[in-house]
């Protein structure tokens, strides 16, 4: 019996090649998209949960309440960790971390050749670190490895890179590397590379003690907030609230009066670090907002539904063609159950093949994503669990998409079927088909409208006048400030370089690097101070970036003790000054006092998700360790040659400013790319479905078309037989999709400070594109029927 059904199933699938292929392709597309999204979401949700104690571990985050705003930081003052450890014995473990930071290392290999390495992810951790974060030790003693001040634990990857050792890591132990070419560090351990799904990315671990000795001011400063993170592990989760309260009353022991009032510490669960946007991205990590993950899942499910709807529609439409078979089989003794079984088996074949194809496609897609979306350090893998889940999806499709048509088809009464009188129970069947098609149109329109709005927003991003010039600008380190002048002169001697400037960073804060400070008038009280961004630039900074002076003058020179400020317009708003009024005013910031000598027009000093904030440019000699170089064609190689010639004991690296800026929008770009792809796939699936559906409808109406034609109907009149219905359905769908789309895109746009205005034509455009696609798809089939010779169709009856 089973074999017989199987054989018949394959034959009937082969016979209806078009609809079989449409079914398979549509279903595969749906499954692939759904699974890829699922695997992506699962991966992004799994960040840092591989630590055995992840569930009960927290990061301390800081809320700073200022007069005009509250700041949320994921970094805290360095002494916090140690103080918590000594004062709260009930906390299972406290660990203080600094970094990750960029450092260079001198390494001597076996042949006594020395080599310099630039390492961007150096993490300073104390010896308590492994009690909260799992490390997999490949060599060394985990209990003592981080105890000695001048020691270092390398990751496998660095051990390989530094010492060309890839298996016996014991041989690496005892070797010495030199930090910034001077401090010797003894290799005391080798650990496995941190997995990609961790916000804690490091290539080596250096004892925090070492950092502390070398940064005594910072590591004892309770008012400072640098790159320190404190993590704790509780005995059990329930202690979180109580501890937060205790810390609240405890902090005055260490914080000064001003800070005590405005700073509070909260516990952020370790496994929320990656998906919570409030505190910003961890140093060296990135954030995948929970909202994006949720929307992604919804999108995935809808695309799968879209594919399932196709499946249902095509199978039910096919039921006419199968009616005779049902009749014959029933007369020959088949009962309804055996027919349902037969049809389900037949469709299960399609589903099974679609799943197999999907599995292959998924694994290709994952590889593709891993290799293209490198900004997200993806390591997506198709695992057995996922295949298991696909089987569940398959069963789900069998239950919901294959069962229904099978039940409908098998219900046909034999007498009617054999007489070729289709049970025009179709009233309900017709409506069901119509509503399913409308559902598809709704989803397609949602995707289309979202894609249109998102693309306009992204376009807006790229076309907003940032207020400073940013093209063809290369940024390099300037590690030895005393050589900056030589570097500049050598660069400018070349025609491929037009301008050079030094400073702390470009006008827009990129790569998560931004200096902050508090400012007030000297006569104001400390707690009245407001937050501002602090930038250091040399005397050519304004000219280099084309920042426009509204009043006052540029710096003359940079000094060890800064004495001049240039501020932006937003800064003036804090005091209600006009540009001219500000000139000559004295301002107190955390680092000292100076006079405003110039006011520049506002420029986007934050990425476009955020508002322009008060900004102070200082004529400080500190922090001028970035070189900005405007290059023309061929300039890049010049920069490299000159750089390597001037700076020794360092490793050359560079970034284009535009590249760094676009990284600020990687989540937005992902959403954009995602919606573009999903909109196309949704359209594709829906088109496949419509196309398949039309072939059945046209077959059913062939006779009607022929009769009409014989009676004198024109081609367009005949076409409108089909197009009218779809036009109505698209319009109905639009009524549903437009408000839903409005709600979502409106919400999404809200997260941008600089956003496009929604306008009605974006929605109408989405609707029109859907209509056009629907009409083209359905005309394709009906045109053929309408142009055919009517006699042929009529004779067949």
């Amino acid at each position: 019996m089973f074999r017989n059904y199987f054989k018949i199933g394959i034959r009937s699938l082969l016979k209806n090649k078009t609809s079989t292929i449409i079914n398979m392709v549509g279903l595969s597309l749906g499954v692939v998209v759904c699974m890829v999204i699922l695997i992506f979401v699962q991966y992004e949700s799994s960040f840092d949960d591989y630590h055995a104690k992840a569930e009960q571990s927290y990061r301390l985050v800081q809320h700073t309440v200022l007069p005009n705003e509250t700041l949320y930081w994921n970094t805290t003052a360095y002494p916090l960790g140690e103080a918590l450890r000594s004062d709260f014995p009930e906390i299972e473990n406290v660990t203080q971390v600094s970094g990750p930071v960029r450092r260079t290392f001198k390494v001597e290999d076996n042949l006594k050749n020395t080599k310099l390495f630039d390492e961007p992810a150096v993490l300073f951790v104390d010896s308590f670190y492994p009690r909260t974060f799992d490390l997999k030790w490949l060599a060394g003693d985990q209990n003592t490895a981080l105890k000695e001040t001048n020691s270092v634990v390398l990751t496998k990857q660095l051990a390989e890179k530094f010492f060309r050792e890839s298996s016996n890591f014991q041989t690496v132990l005892g070797k010495v590397i030199y930090l910034q070419s001077k401090d010797p560090l003894l290799v005391t351990g080798v650990v496995e590379n941190p997995p990609a799904n961790s916000d804690h990315q490091y290539s080596m671990l250096i004892p925090y003690e070492f950092f502390k000795i070398n940064n005594q001011y910072a590591t004892s400063n309770w008012s400072g907030n640098y790159q320190g993170s404190t993590f704790i592990t509780l005995h059990n989760k329930s202690g979180q609230q109580a501890l937060e309260t205790n810390i609240d009353s405890w902090k005055k022991k260490y914080l000064n009066e001003k800070d005590e009032k405005r700073i509070s510490y909260k516990l952020q669960p370790l496994n929320e670090m990656h998906t919570t946007t409030l505190y910003g991205q961890s140093p060296g990590g990135y954030i995948m907002p929970q909202k994006v993950l949720t929307i992604s899942l919804v999108v995935g499910i809808f695309i799968l539904l879209l594919a399932m709807v196709n499946f249902i529609n095509l199978l039910t439409a096919q039921s006419n063609a199968r009616a005779k078979e049902v009749g014959v089989r029933k007369v020959m003794g088949g009962n309804r159950r055996s027919l349902v079984f037969q049809f389900i088996l037949e469709n299960s074949l399609v589903i099974l093949i679609a799943l197999l194809v999907s599995a292959l496609a998924i694994s290709f897609s994952l590889d593709f994503l891993n290799n293209t979306l490198t900004i997200f350090s993806l390591n997506l893998q198709l695992e057995w669990g996922h295949l298991g889940f696909m089987v569940i999806i398959g069963l789900f499709i069998v239950c919901f998409a294959a069962l229904y048509p099978a039940v409908v088809v098998s219900a046909i009464k034999p007498v009617q079927a054999l007489k070729n009188k289709m049970p025009i129970k179709s009233k309900s069947q017709f409506n069901q088909r119509k509503s399913l098609v409308t559902f598809q149109f709704i989803i397609v329109q949602l995707f289309l409208i979202a894609a249109i709005v998102i693309s306009y927003q992204m376009n807006h991003f790229n076309s907003v006048d940032l207020g400073f010039s940013h093209n063809s600008i290369v940024i390099t380190e300037a590690p030895q400030t005393e050589k900056s002048r030589v570097f500049r002169e050598k660069l400018l001697a070349n025609s491929a370089v037009s301008k050079v400037s030094f400073g702390s960073g470009p006008p827009m804060a990129v790569d998560g690097f931004q200096l902050g400070t508090n400012f007030r008038l000297p006569e104001q009280a400390e707690e009245e101070a407001l937050e501002a961004e602090m930038k250091v630039g040399d005397s050519s900074y304004l000219d280099f970036y084309d920042l426009e002076l509204l009043a006052g003058r540029n710096f003359l020179t940079n000094k060890e003790e800064f004495d001049e400020f240039i501020v932006n317009e937003t800064f003036l708003k804090s005091f209600g000054w006009k540009p001219e009024q500000a000139i000559g005013k004295k301002i107190q910031i955390n680092e000292g006092q100076a006079t405003i000598v110039g006011v520049v027009k506002d420029f986007h000093n934050n990425s476009l998700q955020h508002k322009i904030s008060p900004c102070i440019i200082l004529n400080w000699a500190f922090f001028t360790n970035k070189a900005f170089i405007k290059v023309s064609n061929g300039g890049l190689s010049v920069v490299e040659t000159v750089w390597k010639d001037v700076f020794t004991n360092s490793v050359y690296k560079y970034n284009f400013l535009n590249d760094s800026m676009s990284k600020e929008y990687h989540v937005e770009q992902l959403i954009f790319a995602g919606f573009r792809v999903f909109a196309i796939i949704a359209i594709l699936i829906a088109c496949l479905g419509l196309f398949g559906l039309m072939s059945f409808l046209v077959a059913r109406k062939r006779k009607e078309i022929s009769i009409r034609k014989v009676l004198g109907a024109s081609l367009t009149e005949n076409l409108s037989l089909f197009t009218k219905e779809y036009t109505i359905l698209v319009v109905i769908a639009f009524v549903f999709s437009a408000p839903v789309a409005y709600y979502f895109v409106h919400q999404w746009l809200e997260s941008f400070t600089y956003r496009i205005d929604l306008s009605y034509w974006m929605f109408l455009l989405g609707g029109f594109i859907t209509l056009a696609i629907a009409l083209v798809t359905c005309s394709f089939q009906s045109l053929r029927a309408s142009m055919a010779n009517p006699i042929k169709a009529l004779r067949e009856e």
């Binding site: 017989n4 020959m332 003794g333 007498v415």
Partner: protein, 221 residues
């Protein structure tokens, strides 16, 4: 006695009016009879056949089949009854296009839960008996109409029914093919004792039977 219809009525309601498809039909069929049902289009021949075959319901009256009261049976029992005792032959053959001749013959046996070896033997026997062994792996569309109807009759016979219901079995065939099928019916009736009820328009075909029933507007005349 094989079956007996007593005062069978069947009607449809159309526009507030009751239109009778069958009106007070009384009929007794003995085993081994060969009956031809005749009458103009719309006289209720096919309806009567479908009622006898239990494919269609009736609204009033009694129907005894092998001493079972069909009108009192549940759908499922009724289906079991016709599966076991009745074979159908159709005007347009109604072979399944996706199945080969052999598979078409095998299909009813699958539903009757015969074992694989039994099925093979029965199919081989039928192919042999109808001289279509050479065609067993062909699909219906590769056969002529006469050959297709031959397969249709073979399929109806394969599970050894007591009664064959044939609705214009030769309606789509030319005269020579018709004659062959009718000869086959006659032989089945005389040699194997199969009861046959056929619907036909042709006097010539009706003559093969032992009794003729004439219908007009749902009534026996």
């Amino acid at each position: 006695m094989l079956l007996q219809l007593n005062n069978i009525f069947k009607w449809v309601n159309s526009g507030g009016q009751r239109i009778f498809l069958l009106k007070d039909i009384n009929l007794e069929v003995q085993e081994g009879e060969f009956i031809s049902v005749m009458g103009p289009s719309g006289s209720g021949k096919s309806t009567l056949l479908n009622v006898i075959g239990m494919l269609d319901d009736f609204d009033e009256g009694e129907y005894q089949f092998l001493h079972e009261s069909v009108h009192a049976l549940k759908e499922k029992h009724r289906a079991n009854l016709y599966k076991e005792y009745i074979g159908f032959v159709f005007q347009s053959y109604h072979l399944l296009d996706d199945l080969t001749v052999k598979e078409n013959l095998e299909m009813p046996l699958l539903y009757k839960k015969f074992k694989g070896s039994e099925r093979k033997a029965m199919v081989a026997d039928m192919l042999d008996r109808f001289n279509i062994v050479g065609k067993k792996d062909l699909f219906p569309t590769q056969l002529s109409g006469g050959q297709q109807q031959l397969v249709g009759v073979a399929r109806a016979l394969i599970a050894s029914p007591k009664l064959i219901l044939a609705d214009e079995p030769t309606g789509n065939l030319n005269s020579q093919q018709s004659e062959e099928i009718m000869e086959l019916f006659k032989k089945l009736n005389e040699e194997d004792g199969v009861t046959i009820i056929q619907v036909t328009h042709s006097e010539q075909n009706a003559a093969y039977g032992s009794r003729i029933i004439n219908l007009l507007d749902g009534r026996k005349v």
